[in-house]
């Protein structure tokens, strides 16, 4: 149903964003590059045994290029990045790009699953609260929103581990997939590939690993979605076109979903874009908590090891995800809001 004018608009949004995306990524690169070099902690000192000589330190510094000035190091690194070379990890001695790309799919699957959960939970709560506004049900939704908003994701993670990993062990609390399984996968997108290969046994194992970390990440976002969507639905329900629809013979459910929802969802969509980037940020702690082998978990190891090239690579990838998410939100906005077309 994409009309011609809509495709043109979407293309214009993408092209318009490319320049700002490049500038944003460059800015992020500069900041992270400088910051991790001026804060205390030296990767070389971490690698050498106690009692290493000054000459040993100087030799290793020269090996990793750390004896040059920061601007010089940056230019060398950026030259590599432009050619697709993000350098070599100091702690694992593997190419940074391979490491990051190996872990990125796990984090993407976790975040997207969490986002889907958040949208479903938040959407259902908002619609329920709107349908039964002014009753105790709406009060219950408000209370649930308050709790969801005030407890951070990692605390939910701890609670879930305690409840469903220890007291009632229903879910796996550690890792991405059971280690004993024989994996036929060729990509790192395990969930996606298990569906394509119709291996629902593996899919279920992945899901039972992913469910608790994803839910922990999803709850705060679900509460935000629920609160904002319910608020804008409530305002929309008083608008003239919604009242007019009631006179046409539509019942409450149809009026909410058919008339109000599409218009009320727009402000929420913008917020989901912003909050989704926070959710991805939250994966750093949550992946650690559930020993989930994703990018966030690797980021913590990289920081502990002062693995400068790896930190840089991970941060750049996170920044890239953030900018792409914002781009997608802008495009969705254009699809849902006809007033933005023909502009």
């Amino acid at each position: 149903m994409l009309s011609g004018s809509l495709s043109v608009l979407l293309l214009r949004i993408v092209l318009g964003r490319l320049a700002t995306m490049a500038i944003t990524l460059f800015g992020v690169a500069v900041i992270v590059f400088v910051v991790i070099r001026v804060v205390p902690g030296n990767p070389v000192a971490m690698m050498l045994p106690p009692g290493a000589t000054e000459a040993d330190i100087a030799r290793l510094n020269a090996l990793y290029g750390l004896d040059k000035s920061i601007p010089e190091q940056f230019v060398i690194w950026l030259g590599g990045v432009v050619q697709g070379d993000f350098g070599t990890s100091i702690s694992t001695r593997q190419p940074v790009l391979d490491l990051v790309l190996g872990r990125l799919p796990a984090t993407l699957e976790l975040s997207i699953f969490a986002l889907v959960l958040a949208v479903i939970i938040g959407g259902v709560m908002a619609l329920t609260g709107t349908r039964f506004r002014g009753t105790r049900t709406e009060g219950a939704v408000d209370v649930a929103n308050g709790v969801g908003l005030s407890v951070p994701d990692f605390l939910w993670g701890l609670v879930f581990i305690l409840l469903f990993g220890v007291l009632w062990p229903i879910f796996h609390i550690s890792g991405r997939i059971s280690p004993a399984l024989d994996l036929p996968f060729v990509t790192q997108f395990y969930v996606f590939e298990s569906i394509v290969r119709l291996r629902f046994d593996l899919w279920w194992d992945l899901l039972t690993h992913m469910f608790m970390p994803a839910l922990a990440l999803a709850i705060p976002l679900a509460a935000i979605i629920s609160q904002l969507l319910k608020q804008s639905l409530k305002e929309t329900m008083h608008l003239d076109y919604v009242v007019l629809a009631r006179t046409k013979g539509y019942g409450e459910n149809r009026v909410i979903v058919g008339e109000a929802l599409r218009n009320a969802v727009l402000p929420t969509l913008t917020l989901i874009g912003v909050q989704f980037t926070f959710l991805i940020g939250g994966t750093v702690i949550i992946e650690r908590l559930f020993s989930y082998e994703g990018l966030g978990n690797m980021a913590i190891d990289a920081v502990i090891n002062r693995d400068l090239p790896l930190i840089q690579g991970i941060v750049i990838v996170f920044a890239l995800i953030f900018t792409v998410v914002n781009l997608i939100v802008d495009m969705l906005y254009a699809v849902l809001n006809p007033r933005l077309r023909h502009a």
């Binding site: 002014g134 076109y241 046409k248 013979g249 019942g251 218009n263 809001n337 006809p338 007033r339 023909h342």
Partner: protein, 292 residues
């Protein structure tokens, strides 16, 4: 034979305070009749239309009285049946065309949605009906307009579309709630003419809510004058303009600006008349409270 719409002793109160917004309103509209509901802002004229169409605000409650639409007692019906009945025999022409169309839906479905969803028409029939109606309301190039979104059309065009939508299911009663108030003067005249034309063509009963007695004299056959939610006069239009019976009606008529001499004719309603009619309302309220 009884009238198509009959309202009998309808009182509505504001929940919480118990203040009466409608005070034992009675009126009847025959098939094909055009009745004006006239009064100042806050007199309750829109409230009557909302009560008939089942869209009273949540804070307003019907305390007593009956509304009969096509012989059905609306207040005694199950809500789902009431909605269906209202959707199939009645319609609303709203006040503000800029806010009464859904901004994210195309024009075509907004005209015919009740035909498809409530009355079970097929898509193709509905489409043909939409084109026919757009022709009736004098919109050029209907094929192009049904695919447009509201923001692409002018206020006058949107009001024409809302009129088309109101007439879509051949309703037998239309409530026009100040349908020209939000439009500029030249467009007002065209829309007024169009509503009269559509009403005559379809033979629909029309309740015309307005504060403009000039409009009533042109469009309506009968009128009810409201003050503070109370019908103070119910008359044929010809009789009313020849000799209004109630003092408030006379004052209201005297306060209507005349194009021949606008400056001199712009008079507020005489305070002594307001005092008298307010006292009348207070007496009615005492009797009402006493009777309960």
């Amino acid at each position: 034979m009884s009238a198509f719409l009959e309202i009998e002793g309808l009182s509505a109160v504001l929940a919480g305070t118990g203040a009466r917004l409608l005070r034992s309103v009675s009126l009847a509209v025959d098939t094909g009749e055009v009745r004006g509901l006239v009064g100042e802002s806050g007199a309750g004229k829109s409230m009557i239309g909302k009560a008939v169409l089942g869209i009273l605000p949540k804070a307003v409650r019907v305390a007593e009285g009956a509304i009969r639409l096509d012989g059905h007692d609306l207040l005694a019906m199950r809500p789902a049946d009431r909605r269906r009945l209202i959707g199939s025999v009645a319609a609303l022409i709203p006040q503000d065309p800029l806010t009464a169309l859904n901004p994210s839906k195309r024009i075509g479905p907004q005209i015919t949605d009740r035909l498809v969803d409530i009355l079970g028409w097929g898509k193709a029939d509905a489409q043909a009906r939409a084109l026919e109606l757009l022709g009736e309301v004098h919109i050029e190039d209907p094929e192009r307009v049904i695919g447009r979104y509201p923001h692409e059309l002018s206020g006058g065009m949107r009001q024409r579309i809302l009129i088309a939508s109101a007439f879509a299911a051949e309703p037998r009663l239309i409530i026009a709630d100040e349908p020209t108030t939000a439009l500029d003067v030249t467009v007002q005249k065209q829309i007024l003419k169009l509503i009269g034309e559509m009403q005559a063509h379809h033979g629909t009963a029309l309740v015309f809510v307005t504060h403009d007695l000039g409009v009533v004299s042109k469009v309506c056959q009968s009128l009810s004058v409201l003050y503070a939610g109370k019908v103070v006069e119910d008359a044929r239009v010809a009789d009313f303009f020849a000799a209004p019976r109630h003092a408030y009606s006379r004052a209201l008529l005297a306060a209507t600006p005349k194009y021949t001499d606008p400056a001199a004719s712009l008079q507020p309603v005489d305070p002594s008349v307001i005092e008298a009619v307010t006292a009348e309302v207070a007496v009615a309220d005492r009797e009402w409270i006493h009777g309960r």
